[in-house]
């Protein structure tokens, strides 16, 4: 993620031009994927290890952080665990101290639901924000596609586990942020193909929600931000959301 400030309307149009370049990169990724996907299928989920904490000692090229032990990476939750042996939280709201080590459940079959082809179709074929939303999250059932459970979910369950596979506490696995930055990048690329109509486009599905409310992240960051300001990835909220994905 790169941010450049300030973002003017002129810059918006300039950056929209970069979208075509990004699309060609995606097409390349798609071709590489087609050529190189391993033929064998690893359909059965595998738990990498039993109760354990994770040690950054395998990153051989990151010499300064070898042998750092991160103890108890997950402490709150679970909320909606997908593993059947996650200990229950002592507090009814899930906010009690429940120390446990992170586990991942790597599944290459799930990864096929987030292929470059699907991402390419998402950003090029979605005519409006509702179509984009549906394709990203809850695509209509398509019996000819066995990997049709949405790019968002696929991305989470590539490694799943605890807390990564638990929808309530998934940010407890650092991979959450890598994944959601990518999803935000997809949204941004889709918006930049027609910024005038797409930047402020709000999802109409579901209905009933206040379209002008503020987003309040409470103890995470100081400011409350109007929801439409956070749509504007090229300068919303006094430039705080000014970022250019390359």
């Amino acid at each position: 993620m790169q941010r450049i400030q300030p973002c003017s309307m002129v810059m918006r149009r300039a950056w929209a031009v970069t979208v075509s370049r990004i699309q060609s990169i995606l097409v390349c990724a798609w071709v590489v994927e087609r050529l190189s996907l391993p033929a064998e299928v690893d359909a059965s989920p595998k738990v990498l290890s039993k109760s354990s904490c994770f040690i950054i000692s395998q990153l051989k090229d990151v010499s300064q952080v070898t042998n750092v032990l991160i103890s108890y990476i997950a402490t709150v939750g679970p909320g909606s665990p997908v593993m059947n042996d996650v200990p229950k939280n002592p507090a009814s709201n899930g906010g009690g101290y429940n120390p446990r080590c992170m586990r991942r459940d790597v599944n290459s079959e799930v990864a096929k639901g987030a292929s470059a082809e699907k991402v390419y179709n998402l950003i090029t074929l979605s005519k409006d924000i509702d179509a984009f939303y549906n394709t990203l999250l809850t695509p209509p059932v398509n019996r000819s596609d066995p990997y049709n459970w949405g790019i968002h979910s696929s991305g989470h369950y590539i490694s799943g586990g605890d807390p990564g596979g638990d929808p309530m506490v998934s940010p407890g696995d650092p991979i959450f942020y890598f994944h959601h930055v990518m999803l935000d990048r997809m949204w941004w690329i889709w918006q930049m193909q027609d910024p005038d109509t797409r930047v402020n486009a709000q999802v109409t599905l579901g209905g009933g929600a206040n379209k002008n409310r503020n987003i309040d992240l409470k103890w995470l960051i100081d400011d409350k931000v109007p929801i439409l300001e956070a749509h504007d990835g090229l300068g919303g909220y006094k430039g705080a959301f000014c970022h250019v994905y390359v």
Partner: protein, 104 residues
């Protein structure tokens, strides 16, 4: 990312995991670090973050808040890296197994 950038990013993440939490202690006695603050928010404010109107802008702000914490509270100079999901299918094992679990 260069090796130096990767090191900076990992060190900033470790810093966040060792920084004191800001979530209210009466509601979240389990949040023991600034890193856990983000789990605690996601756990209890799922409605705000996940309704159809709020999902995209809410998560855009959520990842910005995380990146801001890395930068302001842990001295990180870079930006949060992007995962190229579309390439994961091929590099899956290489990427995900570089961070390995070990028994303690």
């Amino acid at each position: 990312m260069t090796i130096e950038q990767r090191t900076d990013f990992i060190n900033a993440t470790l810093c966040l995991m060792n920084a004191p939490p800001k979530a209210p202690k009466d509601q979240f006695p389990g949040a023991r670090s600034r890193y856990h603050d983000f789990m605690a928010y996601h756990l209890t404010n799922a409605g705000t973050l996940h309704d159809t109107i709020g999902l995209f802008p809410g998560h855009k702000y959520f990842i910005l808040a995380y990146e801001t914490a890395l930068r302001k509270e842990c001295g990180y100079k870079g930006y949060h890296p992007v995962r190229f999901t579309s390439l994961i299918a091929f590099f899956l094992k290489e990427i995900l197994l570089t961070i390995t679990c070990k028994s303690i």
